[in-house]
């Protein structure tokens, strides 16, 4: 297609668009005469499609059923927003391994208050949805406090590394004090 033909096609497309604008927004005699440059075949098919391509309305039953479903969904969204469901995600501070500490000074049992398992450290930095967690535990404040206590209390680690370190520590204490570890 040459540039001249392309320009001609675009001009014709523009004329068609103007005609459609008048066809779709005005009725009958209000339309006025169509541009003589517009192909009569295009005028005819435009008029026909305007008449034949009608808007179809769904059934009343469907309309009301979907309205009820949307109302239900909207109410759900409102409740979740009120309960903090739209709260932001807050990442917990990541606890880095103290690389500056010499291996001998590093006590895997005492590192990081509440650091229950060194092997689980990467998971500790996962973000938590505060709003959602509080929502689920909101039966009582005691529930939230219990969850917080469980997450922060120091417990004995079950990892192999921690068990080995604990065994060495116990052996040292036993050798030093000649008795059982505290």
């Amino acid at each position: 297609m040459t540039a001249f033909e392309r320009d001609g096609s675009e001009v014709e497309a523009l004329l068609t668009d103007l005609y459609l604008e008048s066809v779709l927004t005005r009725a009958g005699a209000d339309r006025g005469p169509a541009d003589a440059r517009l192909d009569p075949a295009l005028r005819a098919v435009s008029d026909r499609l305007r008449r034949d391509l009608v808007r179809v309305h769904p059934s009343f039953r469907f309309e009301e059923r979907l309205a009820a479903r949307l109302a239900e969904a909207a109410a759900g969204l409102r409740v979740s927003a009120a309960a903090g469901g739209e709260g932001s995600v807050i990442p917990f501070a990541r606890i880095e391994t103290p690389a500056s500490l010499a291996p001998d000074d590093f006590d895997p049992l005492s590192f990081g208050a509440g650091d229950t398992d060194l092997d689980d450290r990467p998971e500790r930095s996962r973000p938590l949805l505060i709003g959602g967690a509080l929502t689920s535990a909101a039966i009582s404040l005691a529930g939230a406090a219990y969850v917080a206590w469980r997450r922060t209390r120091p417990t004995r680690s079950r990892s192999a590394m921690a068990r080995a370190a604990r065994a060495v520590r116990d052996a040292r204490i036993a050798a030093t004090h000649g008795g059982w570890p505290e």
């Binding site: 668009d17 927004t25 026909r48 034949d52 808007r55 469907f62």
Partner: protein, 211 residues
């Protein structure tokens, strides 16, 4: 036939063709729905027939059109916060309005429905019956045949041309709105519609669209 015209207003004191001014038409409704989602009902009632009609013309089946309509409105409700009115006067009439945004959702939903099946929609006999005259059986039958033929001709168009024709004639959208829905320039949409009309005209001339 009296056709409902949505969103078209004639500017005062201007003699030219009516202009589409959607920019502030839905702003209050959208703001109300954002503030309280239960107010989404007003937007739903306003655009239900349009979305359903679009889905029906694309899918050719009432049940599938209902499914697509339901998914469209549920998605719109859930994602209402994402809608941004970015229209500026220089963008032209109807650019980036709620209706355009809604129809973009509908277009995606319908495209997914169509991908899920292999066959093309057949003649919408139910729709044809809607426009027939129940008091004049002979004329009604002829009209029904005309409607079915026109639909078949439109249904045979390539997807983009068919969508453009449906949005232009059934939904009575402006070129700018269609450009927004289809993600094309206004010039491209004008050419798309022009070529589609040429194809449909040829098709209808060829012996009543191969009834």
């Amino acid at each position: 036939m009296v056709r409902a015209v949505f969103g078209r207003v004639k500017p005062e004191g201007e003699a030219g063709p009516a202009r589409v001014t959607h920019l502030d038409r839905d702003a209050a409704l959208v703001a109300a729905a954002r503030h309280d989602r239960t107010h989404f009902d007003a937007l739903y009632r306003k655009y239900l027939a349009q979305v359903y009609s679009y889905a029906y013309y694309e899918l050719g089946d009432h049940h599938e059109a209902e499914d697509a309509t339901e998914r469209t409105f549920l998605a719109a409700l859930a994602n209402l916060e994402r809608f941004e009115e970015r229209a500026r006067p220089s963008d032209g009439d109807g650019a980036s309005t709620f209706r355009v945004w809604l129809f973009r959702i509908a277009r995606n939903v319908v495209a997914n429905e169509r991908r899920g099946r292999r066959r093309h929609p057949q003649a919408p006999l139910d729709a044809a019956a809607l426009v027939s005259d129940p008091l004049d059986i002979e004329r009604g039958a002829a009209l029904r045949d005309d409607v079915a033929a026109a639909w078949r001709a439109v249904g045979r168009l390539p997807a983009d041309r068919r969508r453009a024709i449906v949005l232009r004639f059934v939904e009575e959208m402006s070129t700018a709105e269609i450009a927004g829905v289809l993600g094309r320039s206004e010039g491209a949409v004008r050419v798309l519609i022009h070529r589609a009309l040429r194809t449909v005209a040829r098709d209808l001339d060829r012996g009543g669209s191969r009834r």
